[in-house]
């Protein structure tokens, strides 16, 4: 019962944060709304008894990636006249909503045809560090290595992009 109330609260908060991200004009307000969405999504992961993903969401997403984005927004020193003039964004939002509504109802119908279970919290033996680690390093070892190569490529790419500016001076 208590978990149902938590789910309602977290889902309302996450949808409100997402709407705020789309509506607010300044990117700093949008980033703060996205932080609300990410933290409430972490709560939803905890309700789905994914303990490791809950911690990783808080540390990596709401901690590292969002602080990087906030740092970049502050580094660029975005003033009000730097921002694009988006007076007609509500019109585009309404038009996009009309276009997306059939897609949403179609997917909703598909999802409701799935035989579901109650999302009760599973105790030990599901979603902890040990169990996910065993699955990760037994069944998913090759994709894990490929992701590490991807991170290396992104590192080299960031260095190349940052270094080109210095050479052109």
């Amino acid at each position: 019962m208590f978990a149902d109330w938590l789910f309602t609260g977290f889902s309302i908060l996450s949808v409100l944060g997402a709407i705020g991200l789309v509506i607010f004009r300044h990117p700093m307000n949008g980033a703060m709304s996205l932080v609300i969405t990410l933290i409430s999504l972490a709560g939803l992961y905890a309700l789905l008894s994914a303990k490791l993903i809950f911690v990783i969401q808080l540390i990596v997403y709401a901690g590292a990636i969002m602080s990087l984005i906030l740092f970049i927004i502050m580094f660029l020193n975005v003033q009000n006249d730097d921002l694009p003039n988006e007076k007609d964004r509500f019109l585009y939002l309404i038009g996009g909503g009309v276009v997306l509504a059939p897609v949403f109802f179609f997917l909703k119908k598909i999802v409701q045809s799935i035989p579901g279970t109650e999302a009760t919290i599973v105790g030990n033996g599901f979603g902890g560090v040990k169990e996910v680690g065993l699955v990760l390093f037994k069944d998913w070892l090759l994709p894990f290595e490929i992701v590490s190569i991807l991170l290396l490529v992104a590192l080299i790419g960031a260095v190349v992009i940052a270094g080109k500016r210095r050479m052109s001076k």
Partner: protein
């Protein structure tokens, strides 16, 4: 029920698409893409709880790694474009017209 989580993930994904198609600020577009990745993560975790297998957790961790790499590269590109044009408008960045 598990379906409520999936419907929530569909709602978040649709809001992310709306942000990408209707806004012109590159930082907002980038954060909307992050929101769509998070909605996909929520669907992964919900299906993983439905089937009581942990493959979805591993996939969600890989999506987070890809999002981190994307954040590093995309923000570097945004900084370069802002230095080049002095604006954050995605209509200004039409450099590939030749």
């Amino acid at each position: 029920m598990i379906q409520d989580y999936l419907i929530l993930s569909i709602i978040l994904f649709c809001i992310g698409i709306l942000g990408v198609v209707s806004r012109r600020n590159v930082l907002i577009i980038f954060m909307s893409i992050e929101l769509m990745l998070n909605a996909a993560n929520l669907a992964f975790i919900a299906f993983s709880r439905l089937h009581l297998s942990m493959d979805g957790h591993v996939l969600a961790m890989m999506v987070m790694a890809v999002a981190a790499a994307e954040a590093a590269l995309a923000l570097a590109v945004v900084i370069l474009l802002h230095k080049h044009k002095g604006k954050l408008d995605s209509n200004v960045f039409s450099l590939l017209k030749g």
